[in-house]
C-alpha cells in the first residue's frame, strides 16, 4: 500500500558491491535514438538539458548583439548609428532577453537539468514529463517575446515600471505575457528539482554527501518556487491594467505605481539570486576539483546558499530608496542588504581556503572560477556601496549600478556558467576541447570584461545616468574605452563558440573522469548512457573525499534490490565490509 512508507533500508537489505564504469560506450544518450522527434519529444533530462543549452546560447547571442549595438551607439555623445527611440527599444530588449531568456534559466535549466539526477544517482527527475513541459513553456514564452519584438518592440526598460508601461504604445502585453509564461517554466523546473532532491537520492547519498552544486540548485529552486508566482500575479495585474484599466497600479485611476515597484522587486530581487546562486554551486565543484582538496567548510557553503535564498526575500526595498518609501523601511532594507554580504563572504573565504595549499591545476574551468572570484567580489562589494542609503541617493540610476550589476551577472554568473560548461563539457558530449584556445578565450574575456565595465564605475560615480542616449563630451573617452572592451568580450565569446564547435565535430574522446573529480557524474561514462546508471548506485564516499586515491573511489551496486540482475562482467565482485 502506497501510504505505508517504511524506509527502503529496512525493507530490503542492500547488498553492496564495487563497480567499475565502462569507458566511452558505443550507445549513449546522444545516439541511442535518432531523428528530430526523438529530441523534441524526449523525456530524458540530459537531452532536455542540451536543448536548453542550445536555446540559452541562442538568446545569449541575440542579447549580446543588442549590447554591442548599444555600445556602438554610445561611441559618440550624440547620434552614432541609431535613433533615440530605437535605442530605448534596444536597451529594453537587451535587458529583458538577457534576464528572462538567458540568465534565469541558464545554469539551473541547462547544466542543472543535465547534472542533478546524475549527481543524485537516479535515472531521471521525479517528473520527466513536467520537465519537458517546462522546456516547451520556455519556448512558448520565448515566442511571445519574439512576437513583442516584431510587433512594435518594447521601450519600458526590463522592469516594466508603471505608469509608463501602461501608456506606451510598444508591445508590453506580448512581452509580459512571455515573461509570465517563462515564469511558469521556471516554477516547474524548481518543483522538479526540489522533489527530486528530496525523494530520489540514491542509497547512501545522505544530505551531508550531496555535492554543493545540488545544494545551490536546491536553494535556487526554493527561490524560484516562492518568488516567481509573485512576478506572475504582478505581470497579470499589469496586463489587466492595460486591457481593462483596473487601476491598481495606475495613478490616473487612483492606483499606486510604487505598489507595482514593491511587487516587481519582491520577485526581481530574489530573481537576482536565482541567477547567481547556481553559479556558486558550479564554483564550489570546480574549485574543489582543481585544487584536488576536500572543500573547506562544506556545511558553511551549503547552508549559506539557503541563507542567501531566504535573506533575498527581505531586501527588495533597496531598489526603491529614492521611490518615496518610508525612511524607516529604507533603513531596514539597507541593514538587511548589508547582512546578505555575510553568507556571500563566507562562500568566498571558504573557496579561497579550499585553494590554500591545494594542488591547483589551471585548467580552463579553474581559470573561469578564478575570474569569477575576482569579478564577483568586485560586484559584491560595490553592491554594499549601493546598499548604503546616502551613497545610493547619489549613485541611483547611474552607470555605477549598470557596472555593479554586470560585474555580478557577467563577471559572476556568466563566468560561472563558462566554468561549468568547460568543466562538464567532456561529460555532456564525450569530447575534449583545445586547452590553448580555451586559455586565449578566457584571457580575452577577462580583460575585455574589465575594459568594458571598470570605466562604467567611474562614469557612474561622476553622474552619467543609465539608459541615456546622449551624454556630455567629457564622458566620451570612458565610453569609448567601454565600447572597445565590449567588442573584446564579443570576440572572446566568438572564440569559445568556434573551439567548442570544433570539439564537437572532431574533438578527442573524453575519458569518463578527465579531472579526477569525485562526484557521481564522473563515475559514469562520458557521454552517459540513456539511463545514467546501469545499476542502482550505492554512494560510499563523500563528493569531496580527495584524501582517498582515485582507485579506491568507486560506486557501489545495490544488489538484490528489486531483482536487479547484475552484469557480472562489469562488476568487480568484492562485497565490502562496513566502511563508514
Amino acid at each position: 500500500m502506497s501510504t505505508n512508507s517504511t524506509p527502503i533500508e529496512q525493507k530490503t537489505k542492500l547488498h553492496v558491491q564495487r563497480y567499475v564504469q565502462e569507458e566511452n560506450p558505443a550507445v549513449n544518450y546522444l545516439n541511442a535514438k535518432s531523428g528530430i522527434m526523438s529530441w523534441l519529444g524526449t523525456l530524458d533530462h540530459k537531452r532536455i538539458g542540451v536543448m536548453y543549452l542550445i536555446s540559452i546560447s541562442f538568446f545569449f547571442f541575440v542579447g549580446g548583439m543588442l549590447a554591442l549595438l548599444l555600445r556602438t551607439e554610445l561611441w559618440t555623445p550624440a547620434k552614432t548609428i541609431i535613433e533615440a527611440d530605437t535605442y530605448n527599444h534596444v536597451f529594453t530588449l537587451h535587458g529583458a532577453i538577457m534576464i528572462f531568456l538567458f540568465l534565469v534559466p541558464s545554469i539551473p535549466a541547462a547544466l542543472g537539468n543535465f547534472l542533478l539526477p546524475i549527481q543524485l544517482g537516479c535515472k531521471d527527475f521525479a517528473f520527466p514529463r513536467l520537465n519537458l513541459f517546462s522546456f516547451y513553456l520556455y519556448v512558448f514564452g520565448a515566442l511571445f517575446s519574439v512576437t513583442a519584438i516584431l510587433t512594435g518592440g518594447l521601450d519600458t526598460g526590463w522592469t516594466f515600471y508603471t505608469p509608463y508601461s501602461i501608456t506606451t504604445s510598444s508591445s508590453v502585453i506580448a512581452m509580459t505575457m512571455g515573461v509570465f509564461i517563462l515564469g511558469f517554466s521556471s516554477i516547474l523546473t524548481g518543483i522538479n528539482f526540489i522533489i527530486t532532491t528530496h525523494k530520489m537520492r540514491a542509497p547512501g547519498l545522505s544530505w551531508g554527501k550531496l555535492p554543493l552544486f545540488v545544494w545551490s540548485a536546491y536553494a535556487t529552486s526554493i527561490i524560484q518556487v516562492l518568488a516567481t508566482p509573485v512576478l506572475g500575479i504582478t505581470l497579470l495585474l499589469l496586463i489587466m491594467e492595460r486591457v481593462l484599466q483596473i487601476g491598481i497600479f495606475d495613478p490616473a485611476l487612483g492606483g499606486d505605481p510604487v505598489l507595482y515597484q514593491h511587487f516587481f522587486w519582491f520577485y526581481s530581487h530574489p530573481a537576482v539570486y536565482i541567477m547567481i546562486v547556481p553559479g556558486f554551486g558550479v564554483i564550489s565543484e570546480v574549485i574543489a576539483t582543481f585544487s584536488k582538496k576536500t572543500i573547506f567548510g562544506y556545511w558553511a557553503i551549503a547552508l549559506s546558499s539557503l541563507a542567501i535564498a531566504f535573506m533575498g526575500f527581505v531586501v527588495w526595498g533597496h531598489h526603491m530608496f529614492v521611490s518615496g518609501q518610508s525612511p524607516l523601511a529604507s533603513f531596514f532594507f539597507s541593514f538587511i542588504t548589508f547582512l546578505v554580504g555575510i553568507p556571500t563572504g563566507i562562500k568566498i573565504f571558504n573557496w579561497v581556503s579550499t585553494m590554500y595549499r591545494g594542488s591547483i591545476s589551471l585548467e580552463a574551468p579553474m581559470l573561469y572560477a578564478l575570474g569569477f572570484l575576482f569579478l564577483f567580489t568586485v560586484g559584491g562589494l560595490t553592491g554594499i556601496f549601493l546598499g548604503t542609503l546616502s551613497v545610493d541617493v547619489h549613485l541611483h540610476d547611474t552607470y555605477f549600478v549598470v557596472a555593479h550589476f554586470h560585474y555580478v551577472m557577467v563577471g559572476g554568473m556568466v563566468m560561472a556558467l563558462l566554468a561549468g560548461l568547460h568543466y562538464w563539457w567532456p561529460k555532456m558530449f564525450g569530447k575534449m576541447y583545445n586547452k590553448t584556445a580555451a586559455f586565449v578565450a578566457w584571457l580575452v574575456i577577462f580583460v575585455g570584461f574589465n575594459v568594458t565595465f571598470l570605466p562604467q564605475f567611474v562614469l557612474g560615480s561622476r553622474g552619467m545616468p543609465r539608459r541615456y542616449y546622449n551624454y556630455i563630451d567629457e564622458f566620451q573617452a570612458l565610453h569609448q574605452i567601454s565600447t572597445i572592451g565590449a567588442y573584446m568580450l564579443g570576440l572572446g565569446f566568438g572564440i569559445i563558440f568556434v573551439y567548442l564547435l570544433i570539439s564537437l565535430l572532431k574533438g578527442k574522446a573524453a575519458p569518463s573522469n578527465p579531472w579526477n573529480a569525485r562526484t557521481l557524474e564522473w563515475t559514469i561514462s562520458s557521454p552517459p548512457t540513456e539511463h545514467n546508471f546501469e545499476h542502482v548506485p550505492v554512494v560510499l564516499h563523500g563528493p569531496y573525499d580527495y584524501h582517498f586515491p582515485i582507485e579506491e573511489f568507486q560506486l557501489g551496486v545495490a544488489g538484490g534490490h528489486h531483482d536487479i540482475d547484475v552484469h557480472t562482467e562489469k562488476v568487480v565482485t568484492k562485497p565490502i565490509e562496513t566502511e563508514e
Partner: protein, 222 residues
Amino acid sequence: MANISSTTRPAHLQHHFVDSDQQFDSAKLGMWVFLVTEILFFGGLFAAYVIYRSWYPDLYIQASELLNTTWGAINTVVLIGSSLTVAMAIRSAQTNNNRGVYINMMITLALAVVFMVIKYFEYTHKFHLGIFPGGNFAPTGEAAEILTHPKANIFFSIYYMMTGLHGIHVVIGIGLMIWLAVKAKNNAFSAEYYTPVEVVGLYWHLVDIIWIFLFPLLYLID
C-alpha cells in the same frame, strides 16, 4: 532499465522510480510545493487587498454592501461540501472502490458547477448595475447611490481579479475531475495506485480554502 525484470514492477510504476512508495510520495510532495506557489500567486492579490484596505477602510465597508452575502454563504457551503466528497473519493480509491470514486467525483463536479453558476449570476447582476471591472466601471441606479467613494473602481478591480482567478481555478478543477471520473469508470484506481485522486484532492482543497478566505474578506466586512 533493461536489467530489471518487468514481472515485479506494477504497470503504474514509471521506469525511473524504485518503487510505488517513492512514486506516490514524490507526486504528493510535488503537489504540496505547487500549492505553495499557488498561495504566493494569490498572495500578491491578498497583499493588494490588504494595502488598499488599510488606506481606504471606508471604501471596503461601503463597497461590500453590494456583494450578496446570502449567495456568498451558499457558495461557501457548496465548496466545503465538495471538499468532503473529494475526500470521500480518495477514501473510496483506498478501499479499491472505483465506483465510489466515480460517484463522489460526479458529486464534486456537480457542486463545482453549482458554484460557477451562482458566481455567474452574481457577476451578471453586478454588470446589470454598471459595476464592470476596470475602465468600464460606471455604476447606475442604487449602486451609484451606495458607491460614493472615489476609489470604488479599485475595490471592484480587486474583487473581480480575486474571484475571477479563483473561478479559473474552479474551472481547471472541473476539467481534472472529468478526467478522474473517466479513469475511475475504467477501473484505473486501486489501493496500490490512486496518486491522481490524491493530488487532485489536494488541489481541490486549496481552491476551497482560498474561497474560505475570500468570502469573509470580501463579503463579511462590517
